[in-house]
């Protein structure tokens, strides 16, 4: 059934209401944004606008060498008994000279300065120099076709002296060839800084976003399912594993700290351990085990595996020391290329910094895999009621522990006063939640844990992405000081979130067929990712990384406004100093670099994809 068409009258009423509504909407818009047309017509404003536009279209790109001429005369201010008649001037001379209307005046008095025989039609600057030498500009004037000028001005207050004071006139005359201006040189330096700032932040962002993006891909994560009891064990064992990992690194560092003082030991130890690890790896390669067919987790294999793990940790510690030592010695010997030495040293320090966290994460994953073995044996062996009890107990412990972890993280931020009571209550609430979940879910109920991870990762990405790097840089400036380092940290953090989201969308867009086929061969989730997902996402990943670099170059041009280094810093300075001709140079430089990056990244993207 068709609806009966409305009468034309009602229709036009409706249209009229819509039009009136729109008019009101835009009227509110005008009043809220304070549209003021009177200002645009004001003559002073127009003059200023024209001045700025003229400055902007005359960028300070090139300059001439200038020859300054300085002509001085003396004046007594304030007047005193010592008679002072000024410096005698010979009016017949062809050299430039100055005359004053008076050679003794009180501060604030008007004075007329006249100059003769100056360069024709040039700008001159008149300065007042007290005996302490601090110059004060009195004014500027232009000489006429005879090289003559008159300037009426006042003797400055607060510059009293009983000594004669100097009045100086400065003219600058162009001499020699056109050359690149200082502004252009500074701009070049800062543009290079900007490009590297963008490169570093994109690289760091890319490194972190790569692994994280898989956790934010729905099509992969929804395959990840774990039994309820295994989730509880993971929640318990992950933080414990992390803590143990951190402690192990600290203990090892303390143990070998006396030995690492000697550089010879460090180098030899590092090489020795590298050889041992290489041999161990070859050993592992030669007898490939078939997973699942025999799981011998006896004491000996655990011992040998943990020994191997500790060897790797010690190797990493020594490696970081080797980097630091090598960097230091290179810094001393390389001269102009000392920055390479510093880079190597920094790499060593980065390794030293991330090692505890890395070992912590590795240890928690080991703990979790141990947990999955434990949960498998729990699910296999005891009777059903026993399983249920174990599952409930574990889930109570797990969720109480989780709540306590969260509340203690919050305590770090909010510094609660009565933390003991709060700990007690949250522990109880978490325990209750765990009890309920444990009673509701069977121990072998498969929880779609992947979806939980997906939602958490996505939310973190979205929150980080919504904070502009211009805002982030404020925090980093407080941490590492004003400069490009703060800027690259802020951009890197933002890049992790932005690239992580873009990457994960690419993972979601892959064709499912190959993934299905690899899954059908009996490959596990990691193998499916390596063999079916990664080959498909390499081209879009490269394309998005380039696009992000391009974007970061654009961002880093303005991140200096907030103290993040790069060309924005210079631009903001010049705008604040009303030095529009210099600001214009920086704006041109930004435009050139941004459009070049756009062409370049577009070209490379076309080549790859």
């Amino acid at each position: 059934m068709k609806k009966k068409s409305k009468s034309p009258f009602l229709h036009s009423i409706k249209v009229a209401f819509i039009i009136i509504g729109l008019i009101i909407l835009y009227a509110i818009g005008f009043s809220v944004t304070k549209v003021n047309l009177e200002e645009t017509k004001s003559e002073i404003r127009q003059k200023q606008l024209i001045r700025i536009i003229r400055a902007l279209v005359q960028p300070d790109l090139f300059t001439y060498d200038t020859v300054d001429t300085l002509i001085q005369t003396k004046i007594l201010a304030p007047c005193s008994e010592n008679a002072f008649t000024g410096i005698a001037m010979d009016p017949t001379t062809s050299d430039p000279y100055l005359t004053l209307s008076t050679y003794c005046a009180n501060p604030g008095d008007a004075i007329t300065i006249e100059g003769f025989n100056f360069e024709v039609s040039e700008q001159i600057f008149v300065q007042f120099i007290p005996p302490n030498g601090v110059k004060l500009t009195l004014g500027q004037a232009n000489t006429d076709e005879n090289g003559h000028f008159i300037l009426e001005t006042k003797i400055p207050k607060n510059r009293k002296s009983d000594q004669p004071q100097t009045i100086q006139v400065k003219t600058s005359v162009y001499a020699g060839n056109l050359k690149i201006s200082g502004t252009l040189k500074d701009t070049w330096d800062k543009i290079v800084e900007t490009l590297f700032l963008a490169l570093l932040s994109t690289t760091v962002g890319c490194i972190f976003a790569l692994p994280l993006s898989f956790f934010a891909a729905k099509n992969l994560m929804e395959r990840l399912k774990t039994e309820f009891i295994s989730v509880s064990l993971t929640l318990i064992l992950f933080p414990i594993g992390f803590y143990i990992g951190l402690k192990i690194v600290q203990i090892i560092i303390r143990w070998i700290s006396t030995l690492t003082i000697s550089p010879i030991f460090v180098v030899i130890g590092c090489i020795l351990l590298a050889v041992i690890i290489f041999l161990l790896l070859r050993q592992l390669f030669s007898n490939q085990k078939i997973p699942g067919e025999h799981t011998s987790y006896n004491f000996r294999s655990i011992l040998s595996k943990s020994t191997a793990a500790i060897t790797v940790v010690v190797f990493c510690i020594l490696l970081s020391k080797v980097f630091i030592l090598a960097g230091d010695s290179l810094t001393k010997s390389l001269g102009t290329f000392a920055f390479i030495g510093e880079f190597i040293r920094d790499m060593g320090e980065i390794l030293e910094m991330i090692l505890p966290v890395g070992v912590g994460i590795a240890a928690s994953f080991i703990a979790v895999s141990l947990g999955s073995k434990i949960s498998k044996s729990i699910l296999a062996a005891p009777p059903i009621w026993m399983k249920k009890i174990i599952s409930v107990v574990l889930s109570v412990a797990a969720y109480a522990g989780l709540c306590l972890l969260i509340i203690n993280a919050l305590n770090f931020l909010y510094e609660f006063k009565n933390i003991r009571e709060i700990n007690l209550y949250t522990g109880m609430i978490g325990g209750l939640v765990g009890l309920m979940l444990g009673l509701i879910f069977q121990p072998n109920y498969e929880i779609k844990i992947g979806n939980v991870i997906y939602i958490i990762t996505r939310s973190v990405f979205n929150i980080l992405r919504s904070i502009e790097s211009l805002v982030m840089v404020i925090v980093f400036v407080v941490w590492v000081g004003i400069g490009p380092f703060a800027g690259s940290l802020a951009l890197a953090l933002h890049t992790i979130a932005a690239l992580g989201k873009m990457y994960s969308e690419q993972v979601e867009n892959i064709s499912e067929g190959p993934l299905e086929a690899i899954q059908a061969t009996g490959a596990n989730l990691v193998q499916q990712v390596v063999y079916a997902v990664i080959p498909q996402i390499i081209p879009p990943y490269i394309a998005f990384t380039l696009y992000r670099w391009d974007q970061n170059v654009r961002m880093s041009t303005i991140i200096g406004f907030a103290g993040g280094g790069g060309i924005g810093f210079l631009l903001q300075q010049n705008i604040n100093l009303l030095n529009y001709r210099a600001a214009s140079v920086q704006m041109i430089a930004i435009a050139v670099v941004v459009s070049l990056m756009d062409y370049l990244s577009g070209y490379v993207r076309n080549k790859i994809v």
Partner: protein
Amino acid sequence: MLEINELSKIYPGGTQALKAVTFNVPKGQFLAVIGLSGSGKSTLLRCINRLIEPTKGQIIWNGIDLAALPENEMRLYRRKIGMVFQSFNLVLRSTVLTNVLSGRLGYINPAWSFLNRFSKQDYLDAMKQLERVGIADKAFQRADELSGGQQQRVSIARAMMQNPEIMLADEPVASLDPVLAHSIMQYLDKINKELGVTVICSLHFLDLVHRYADRVIALNNGYVVFDGLPSEIDDVKFKEIYGRDAERVG
């Protein structure tokens, strides 16, 4: 012996793709599954190796119920079930050899798959499988440089790397030229006859069924409507399977 008992699948949208499907497959049989598009053929095959989770029922293979296994154990049984797909499902940006080797993934230590390392024996086996399907010379080309028929042969080689006891083939020739169809079917036939691998193959064309299958199961709207020898499909049965408006081709 593979026993499918009362197997049902209801998709999240509410579509009931399989309705209490029950049948047995003796070891070494070449079983064809026929039926219209959407009758549940693909779902049935994918339920057997649990690429799709069945909603209800049992899949008993050598005394073990595959439908009840947790994912990490199912993975170990999946190694013994090869699968060939209608759209070949090769990783197009990888080489033919890598695609074939990926059939071994279930057998190697997962840590090494990061490094794309396989044992020497695996490389030799992969070349042998490629020779068997007649494209050993293409081993180092990228998979997307191959024609459809060649890609399907690579996918058979990949499945054979698993050393399977069952081969699932989901309309393996549906996107190929009819001329090429026979060559692909002959490879499957050879695997069945010479190596004794059980083949469960969904097909569209009845002449292929007559020529290669030992036995036929027909699905219609999720029900098994026929279970018997290919020669038993007469015009009456045909109408039951494919509906009243269908006409025999060829």
